[in-house]
Point group: none
DNA sequence: CCCTAATCGAGACGGTACGTCCAGTCTTAAA
DNA sequence: TTTAAGACTGGACGTACCGTCTCGATTAGGG
């Protein structure tokens, strides 16, 4: 058994809450470790003791749901086209809000030197376990559809599309999600 | 006519060269204006006189071809599928080199707060005027193919895919480009 | 000729003034470099650019007279006993003020790892060029007196005495200076 | 009677030993409470429980003889001049060693905000109970000598001289102690 | 041919944030 | 109840860059 005081859960929570607050108050890039410490009412060293970098805090806040409370699970009704369409619809609608798009943009930017963040973002968006790719594979195995692309490729195209929206290109047109997914799955839309 | 000394072309070039050198020596984020000035043998003020920010320098270096010497024009043989496939093949192969992927990642990251850079990147990659979207439209007009998606959507899906590769996901499998483009255009691959 | 902007005299002065102000406002040991920078309205780096340590600032403030405006020259009337007595009287009276004693104490403390400061303190107190030692030697040469001790020893005993007062021992009794000097010079007091 | 564990003598000793070790390994000013705790294999709180400050530890280490094992009692042969000379000789020789001078310097520096340390230092050096002042007084009472100065003044001059040596001024010349003491006592040296 | 204005390399300036180190307090589990 | 261990808030340290400003030198028109 380790002696000495245990990690303070209060501080941990305060840090995660603080970074979320600050990011949406002043934008991802303008958030400093010092500001986090002040906002959280925590010593700077307490942050450095547990996190090697700002990205690591973000990763944890992301995993914890502090940063993006919503979650985007892919429904499982058995109809892959409908499921994925519905999910993509929600995601694109979410990104219609400029604040959300900006946040996701920053997170993707952070993903470049922190794969961990990329992973957490994908997770939050519902693109990990069970991923879209797996859902497509199931549909294919069930003989529901025979798309020209592999599940992974489709997965990647869709995620890429989401990223493009976050990076600021093109507004969302309702119903678009369904047509996109249909085309990618090689099915005629209703 | 303005009196006084004119802008020094030597300095301008030195700055662009310096930023290219430094970016690949120490990574985009670690490049500071001061380092650029030193490397270029130029006063800091000379940089600030002509560029409002690091991003602006990058944008010019990009436009000038200093940063990415290669260019990726979409061929124009009349066969849209072949043209776009060939082009995508080259781009994905280029991103197979980790250095290139990292560079593009940084540039995309910079695009978030500098649309100018986003534009230049798209330009460099051959995704602007004439864009993939236009090529698809031409083919559609010529009756060569009738894809389920609009040119813009296809354009976006493809760019999104490119971005995903740059962000570090999935290695490139030769031949993949052709299958992807074929599927997106709604054509059976050869 | 060095190019670039010259050192700012305004900043230099502000720094010296600030350290003097702060030392007497909150005591030598509690003065931080950051406080000096703030008080002087100067960037921290401007201090570090010119001074390796707090002690170096103190040394300059001392040399400049910013820290201790008074000076204690040894008079030169030809009568060594009277001259030195008068001088010591002034010094001991000065140290009667507790603030002054505390300041000198701190300075002596700083002298331990900064001989420069020791020198400047001696200078300020009038114990350097022409030093008490030299005055004694002159008197001896002129046949005015033949003390049992060398000028240097007397000098050292006197400085030691001054230090003891600064370190907090014994209050000053008027007239004491004369008796002390007389005894050290081997002369009967008047 | 207090219940619970009593103060651990082992810890107390370890702390005193540790501070002595660290002072001569890295210099007085660089010794931190944390380093003492680590070196002593003791919790920080154990130190803070018993000592209000680093100076208090030093004071105890001094009183205990852990810091300066040597002691310098003034001999009592009845011949005040010889006794004091012999004692001063030993002290000055001790300070000839640079390490010792540096240590004493630091201790004097610490005395400025901790009179307790000043007292302990004086004690260690043999300048307290029976002090040099008292010895002079006894000699005067016995009619052995009639110095021009009071015992206290002599005491102070001598301590001041010792301090000056510790502060780094002047090397020791053998035999000097005798001449100095003789002069201060108003006696012709042998 | 000088004058005047703009540019240049150099570098000091006031600031902000960094990541580290300690001070002094508080918490835990063991003895 | 004390101990060793160690986490906690707080705050100064010395460094790195930011973007601005100030030098003296250089380089062109325009008078």
């Amino acid at each position: 058994m380790p002696r000495g005081a245990a990690r303070s859960e209060a501080s941990r929570t305060a840090i995660l809450t603080a970074i979320a607050t600050l990011i949406d108050r002043m934008g991802f890039d303008n958030v400093t470790i010092e500001a986090i410490a002040t906002e959280a009412g925590v010593g700077k060293q307490t942050i450095y003791r547990w996190y090697p970098s700002k990205n690591a805090i973000v990763a944890e806040a992301l995993a914890e749901g502090t940063l993006v409370p919503e979650s985007f699970p892919v429904p499982e009704t058995g109809d892959a086209l409908a499921d994925i369409s519905a999910w993509l619809e929600r995601v694109l609608a979410f990104l219609g809000d400029e604040t959300h798009a900006a946040l996701l943009g920053s997170l993707l930017s952070a993903s470049i030197d922190s794969p961990e963040i990329g992973l957490r973002v994908a997770e939050r968006l519902g693109m990990a376990s069970p991923t879209v790719a797996e859902r497509v594979q199931q549909a294919r195995d069930a003989g529901q559809l025979r798309p020209a692309l592999t599940g992974e490729q489709i997965d990647q195209l869709i995620f890429g599309l989401v990223v493009m929206r976050a990076l600021g290109r093109a507004p969302y047109v309702p119903g678009e999600a369904h047509r996109l997914v249909a085309a990618l799955l090689g099915v005629a839309p209703d």
